[in-house]
C-alpha cells in the first residue's frame, strides 16, 4: 500500500493541513485542495442523511471511504469533529491502524503544542517530521 497524501480538516470544514507523500497523484495547488476539502466536508454531512437502513448497534455516520479505479480515500472522524483524510493506493490493509497512529501523532504534536491555535492551519515541524517517518515507513514497505 502506498499513501498518496494526507489532509486534516477542521470541524468547521477548513483545511488545516495537507501533504503529499507520493507522486502517483499529480500535485495540486493549495487552493484546489482547500476547495476539495470543503466539498468533502459537505459530502460527509449529506451521505449520513442518505442512509437507507440503519444497522442495529452501528451509529449512523457520514462518508468513511471512497474508491476510484486505482486509488481510494479514507475518512476518519474524531469525536471532536476533526477529519483525517488519507489518500491511498488499492488494495489497502491496515489503514485503520495507520489512521489511529496519525491521530495519536496529531494529539501529541499538535494539540500539546502551545504555539498551535485550535482550528487554525497546522504549522508544526514536529508533526510533519513524525508523519514523514510514519508514512515514509509505510510507503517503503
Amino acid at each position: 500500500m502506498t499513501i498518496h497524501g494526507l489532509w486534516v480538516i477542521s470541524k468547521a470544514g477548513g483545511l488545516v493541513f495537507s501533504r503529499s507523500y507520493s507522486d502517483t497523484l499529480p500535485p495540486q495547488p493549495v487552493n484546489t485542495i482547500l476547495t476539495l476539502a470543503g466539498i468533502l466536508h459537505g459530502i460527509h454531512a449529506i451521505t449520513a442523511k442518505l442512509t437507507p437502513a440503519q444497522i442495529p448497534g452501528v451509529p449512523v455516520g457520514g462518508l468513511e471511504s471512497f474508491e476510484a479505479e486505482g486509488w481510494g480515500g479514507k475518512v476518519f472522524l474524531t469525536p471532536t469533529g476533526t477529519k483525517f483524510v488519507l489518500l491511498h493506493s488499492l488494495p489497502q490493509a491496515g489503514l485503520d491502524e495507520l489512521l489511529r497512529r496519525v491521530y495519536e501523532i496529531y494529539s501529541d504534536a499538535v494539540m500539546k503544542n502551545p504555539f498551535h491555535t485550535p482550528e487554525m492551519p497546522i504549522n508544526s515541524s514536529l508533526f510533519e517530521s513524525k508523519l514523514q517517518t510514519l508514512i515514509g515507513g509505510v510507503n517503503a514497505a
Binding site: P56, G57, E64, D96, E104, D108, K112, P114, F115, S125
Partner: protein, 289 residues
C-alpha cells in the same frame, strides 16, 4: 509543583486514581490517550467488531470524562472528609489522603500522566506568551517558574536522600563536580525519569558547563514556530537547574539552547548552559584538589 514535574516511565502497577478501574489509564503515563486500539478495523467483519466493542469496551474518553467530577480534583488536592470511598491518588490503592498529608518519602505512585503535564505546560506557555513582548521575556518567565519548582525539588530530594540512606550526618555535596553530577543524575532522574544524556565542560571557558538532554519529556511535543526560533521552552529546566545550584550555594547563570539543527539524529537536543559565578571559581581554587 514538584509532584507534577515528577515523571516515571514505569506506570504504577496497581494504583488507581479514581475508584473505577477503567480510569487507570490516567495514572499511567501514556504518550496519548488513544494509544490503545479502540476503533474497530474496517475489514470484512467490521460490523461485528463494532457491536462487540461498543458493548464490552466502553469508550475510554467517556469514562474518563464521567469520573472527573468537579469536586474530585479539589478533594485530591485539599482533602475532604466527606468522601472516604475514593481510593488514594498517591499510594497504590491506599486510603484516600490529601496531598499535604501524604508522606514526603513516598515517591511511588506520585507520578502523573505525561499527557496531563504536557497539556498544562502548553497552557502555561501560551498564558505566558500572551503577557510578554519578546522571546527573552518569555524565557525569563518560564525560567522563573522553573526556579520555583527547582527550589522545592531540591529540598524534597535532599530530605528523601537523607531519610532513605538513614545517615546520621546527612551528606551534602560542596564541591563543584559532585554537585553538577548530582544535578545531572539525581535531579534529572527525579524530574524526567532518566539521567541527562551528557555533562560536559565548555571548551573555551573554564566556568562553563553543559548538561545535555537529547529528548526532554518536558518539551517533546512542542514545535517552536520559525519566527521564534531563538526560543527554547527548556528555559523552564534551566530555571530549575539554577534554583538547585543556588540552593547548593553555587550561584550561576543558567540558560537553555536548542542545538537540534546540528544533530540530525536528535532534532530536539537541548543544552542547558551553566555559567558559574566567579565566586564559585574562586572557592574551587581555594579548596584545591
Amino acid at each position: 509543583m514538584s509532584q507534577s514535574v515528577g515523571y516515571s516511565s514505569t506506570p504504577p502497577s496497581s494504583s488507581s486514581r479514581f475508584s473505577q478501574p477503567s480510569v487507570s489509564s490516567l495514572s499511567s503515563p501514556p504518550t496519548s490517550l488513544y494509544s490503545n486500539p479502540q476503533h474497530p478495523s474496517s475489514s470484512s467483519s467490521s460490523s461485528i467488531n463494532t457491536i462487540n466493542n461498543a458493548n464490552s469496551n466502553p469508550n475510554r474518553r467517556e469514562s474518563v470524562r464521567s469520573s472527573i467530577q468537579p469536586s474530585s480534583l479539589q478533594q485530591q488536592l485539599f482533602g475532604s472528609s466527606s468522601n472516604t470511598n475514593i481510593s488514594g491518588g498517591g499510594g497504590g490503592g491506599s486510603q484516600y489522603q490529601p496531598i499535604l498529608d501524604r508522606s514526603l518519602n513516598k515517591s511511588k505512585g506520585s507520578e502523573i500522566a505525561l499527557s496531563a503535564w504536557a497539556f498544562m505546560f502548553a497552557e502555561i506557555i501560551s498564558y505566558s506568551q500572551s503577557r510578554v513582548d519578546s522571546v527573552t521575556d518569555l524565557e525569563k518567565r518560564l525560567s522563573s517558574l522553573g526556579y520555583e519548582a527547582g527550589q522545592r525539588i531540591l529540598s524534597l530530594l535532599l530530605l528523601r536522600n537523607t531519610q532513605t540512606s538513614n545517615l546520621k550526618d546527612p551528606k551534602r555535596e560542596h564541591r563543584l563536580i559532585p554537585i553538577l553530577q548530582f544535578v545531572h543524575t539525581q535531579i534529572y532522574k527525579y524530574v524526567f525519569g532518566k539521567p541527562a544524556d551528557g555533562l560536559e565542560r565548555g571548551s573555551d571557558a573554564l566556568d562553563e558547563y553543559m548538561i545535555i538532554l537529547n529528548e526532554s519529556p518536558l518539551t517533546q511535543f512542542i514545535s517552536v514556530p520559525k519566527d521564534m526560533s531563538d526560543l527554547s521552552c527548556e528555559a523552564f529546566t534551566a530555571g530549575m537547574v539554577e534554583a538547585v545550584l543556588d540552593g547548593l550555594d553555587v550561584p550561576a547563570r543558567v540558560t537553555a539552547h536548542w542545538v537540534g539543527d546540528r544533530y540530525p539524529e536528535h532534532p530536539q537536543r537541548t543544552v542547558i548552559l551553566i555559567k558559574l559565578d566567579q565566586k564559585v571559581m574562586d572557592r574551587e581554587e581555594a579548596l584545591g584538589k
